[in-house]
């Protein structure tokens, strides 16, 4: 552990914590009866979940004719929501994997919750393509299995099938990664409890003991899973972008889509992490672990990715003119000044312009401002997908089939309902598992605790503990 830390760095754990206090602070919320705020939130979430189930039932029973999709606009809110949720599901893996490569220690404060959020977001995303099939009970047709129809295989050349593979792989690997990180923390919960609860957590913790060799393998595994997840997380939104970009539809077929979708995904994912963290830290009283420093760092990532997305928007716009291809030029003219101009304006305002406030340190460190900004970005990124999908389809090559699309209550219900599904899962998660990675946060205590680092540090390298080795030099 490199405990030599620059004096310019701010602490990431406040309140002069000991190892035991960390365990206590992070584990105790799962051991107490839920507070009023949690109960209220859960009631809201579960009501929205009910809306989802109702809308889903309605769709399945009556068919997707209850949506306002039509012949030219075959994708509307459904695929918009799908892409939006998948995008949100990118932050967790990004925090765990890519920030590891960039040695950002602050990731330890938020990685657990972000990974959980990732999984729940992917679960929400997965709903939409399935429902959109119309006959959900035949959804297993998308997997290549030896069947009695030939066997007639699925089309491996189709980006939609690549999506099936990408998203199921992503869900599986994220779950494995997340769960492997949770195992030692479940052991901590087990050792703090008795009776039935202890049995349950022993089951969850796989009988973890904390042996030296196990930790070594655990770290090796985490590192490789992080290494694998880095290209994986890029591939997922890349493949989602292929759904559009492999086509010949102006406005969809553009080579910048893969990296631009990934940047947008990181952007929206971080916004959702902010929304959740700002609330979680307050309700679970974790302000000393998810500090203003964490919030500021995430706001910087939002500013960065928002600007990258801005570069991509302008690139697309410029190249559509530069291409000299009239259909391409019209597609973008229509995007900016066509019937859906308001969604383009919403997208630009929320995604590119509003994050620029984060150049000001005061705003980056304001919790309230951050919260509203994160909501803005979430809205903006939803608009972006809507702009790409609906605007383009509403004005295709054949002017006689131009039309205008607006969602029905069923589609709105499905979208709002998945928010319920998402929050229900997240709220349950905060009750059963530590929302911060206990073991990982302990391992950075000596390089990021406020008694060791920053202006109020009291422990210096030489006066701490018996048998102290000057850390980092051997």
């Amino acid at each position: 552990m490199s405990a030599v830390v620059s004096p310019i760095r701010e602490p990431l754990i406040e309140g002069n914590k000991t190892y035991h206090q960390i365990t206590e602070d992070i584990c105790s919320p799962t051991e107490k009866a839920p507070g009023m705020a949690w109960v209220m939130a859960f009631l809201v979430a579960i009501s929205l979940l009910a809306v989802y189930i109702f809308s889903l039932g309605w769709t399945v029973w009556n068919g997707i004719g209850t949506w306002d999709l039509n012949r030219t606009i075959g994708w509307g809110w459904d695929i918009t929501n799908f892409v939006w949720w998948v995008g949100i599901g990118h932050a967790g893996t990004l925090i765990s994997a890519i920030l590891l490569l960039f040695r950002q220690k602050w990731r330890t404060g938020v990685n657990r919750a972000a990974e959980a959020m990732t999984i729940f977001a992917v679960v929400c995303a997965g709903q939409f393509p399935l429902i959109h099939m119309g006959r959900v009970w035949l959804a297993f047709f998308i997997f290549p299995y030896p069947n009695t129809r030939g066997p007639l295989w699925v089309n491996f050349n189709s980006p939609l099938l690549w999506d099936v593979f990408a998203i199921s792989t992503y869900l599986t690997v994220s779950l494995l990664f997340w769960y492997t990180g949770l195992v030692p923390d479940f052991a901590t919960l087990r050792d703090r409890s008795k009776g039935f609860r202890r049995k349950i957590y022993n089951l969850f913790s796989f009988g973890w003991t904390g042996a030296g060799k196990h930790w070594q393998r655990w770290e090796s595994l985490s590192l490789i899973l992080a290494g694998l997840s880095t290209p994986l997380v890029l591939s997922v939104h890349t493949i989602v972008s292929f759904d559009f970009a492999t086509s010949v539809i102006p406005g969809w077929h553009t080579t910048i889509f893969p990296p631009y979708f990934v940047a947008g995904a990181i952007f929206s994912g971080f916004a959702m992490v902010q929304t959740l963290m700002v609330i979680t830290r307050k309700i679970l009283k974790l302000q000393q672990y998810i500090t203003l420093e964490h919030i500021e760092s995430m706001n910087k990532v939002i500013l960065l990715t928002g600007t990258m997305v801005g570069v991509a928007y302008l690139t697309e716009l410029f190249i559509s003119w530069y291409s000299g291809y009239i259909y391409e030029q019209y597609a973008f003219y229509n995007r900016v000044l066509g019937p859906y101009w308001w969604s383009y304006v919403g997208m630009m305002a929320c995604n590119v312009i509003s994050p620029q406030f984060f150049w000001v340190k005061k705003y980056r460190r304001s919790v309230v401002f951050t919260f509203f900004m994160s909501i803005f970005v979430n809205i903006g990124m939803w608009f972006e997908r809507f702009v790409i999908i609906a605007t383009t389809l509403a004005r295709d090559y054949l002017p006689s089939s131009w039309s205008y699309y607006a969602p029905t209550w069923v589609e709105i219900g499905l979208f709002v309902g998945t928010l319920g599904l998402f929050f229900t899962l997240y709220l349950i998660f905060t009750r059963v598992a530590p929302v911060i990675a206990v073991a990982e946060i302990k391992s950075i205590l000596k390089s990021a605790g406020d008694q060791y680092v920053g202006p109020n540090a009291t422990h210096h390298h030489d006066d701490h503990g018996k048998g102290k080795v000057h850390a980092g030099t051997h």
């Binding site: 365990t23 066997p151 694998l228 994986l232």
Partner: protein, 176 residues
């Protein structure tokens, strides 16, 4: 369930650096360490204990390779032998279109393979009840354990005093 028939003498330390120092002196004194338990991964531990490098990543490479070959060859077989169909004017064997699925299967096989290997070699599975020395090991205690099943009284006393001299806040003996 694994059977444990060991008698273990262990010391609990309050700080990871004390533990590291104790491991160093134990190895200098040629004392055979049974195991070390910590609440979080202590990075210098593997060096201090002289643990050999984990070979998990090699296994991961093999699993990934199998996944890649399986995915690519399967798609090749389906589209060139079993049921060739032309899609979008592309050749039967259209390599660029096979890359995304090949990649996903590489990652999937590597990840699942490694996770399963990890839990198998560590002997960790749902329902396993590994005996633990102390409940605080997963909280804030750092444990150094010696196997004293076959040790005589003098050896045990020597180890006991080694543990307390090296800074252990508690020294206990337990059969596991």
């Amino acid at each position: 369930m694994r059977k444990y028939n060991k008698n273990v003498l262990y010391g609990l330390y309050d700080d990871d650096e004390q533990l590291l120092a104790a491991i160093h002196s134990a190895r200098e004194a040629h004392l055979e360490i049974d195991n070390v338990y910590t609440p979080f991964p202590v990075h210098d531990l593997e060096e201090a204990m002289g643990l050999s490098e984990s070979r998990l990543h090699m296994a991961g490479f093999v699993y990934g390779g199998i996944g890649a070959l399986f995915g690519f060859l399967f798609m090749t077989w389906v589209f060139t032998r079993d049921w060739p169909i032309i899609f979008g004017g592309k050749p039967y064997w259209s390599v660029p279109a096979f890359i995304p699925i090949t990649f996903e299967l590489t990652v999937l096989f590597a990840a699942i393979g490694m996770v399963v290997s990890f839990y198998t070699v560590c002997g960790l599975w749902p329902g396993v009840e590994n005996p633990t020395l102390d409940d605080r090991i997963t909280d804030d205690k750092f444990c150094l354990a010696f196997d004293v099943t076959n040790a005589d009284g003098g050896k045990v006393d020597a180890l006991r005093s080694f543990l307390s001299d090296s800074g252990a806040s508690e020294v206990n003996q337990k059969a596991i």
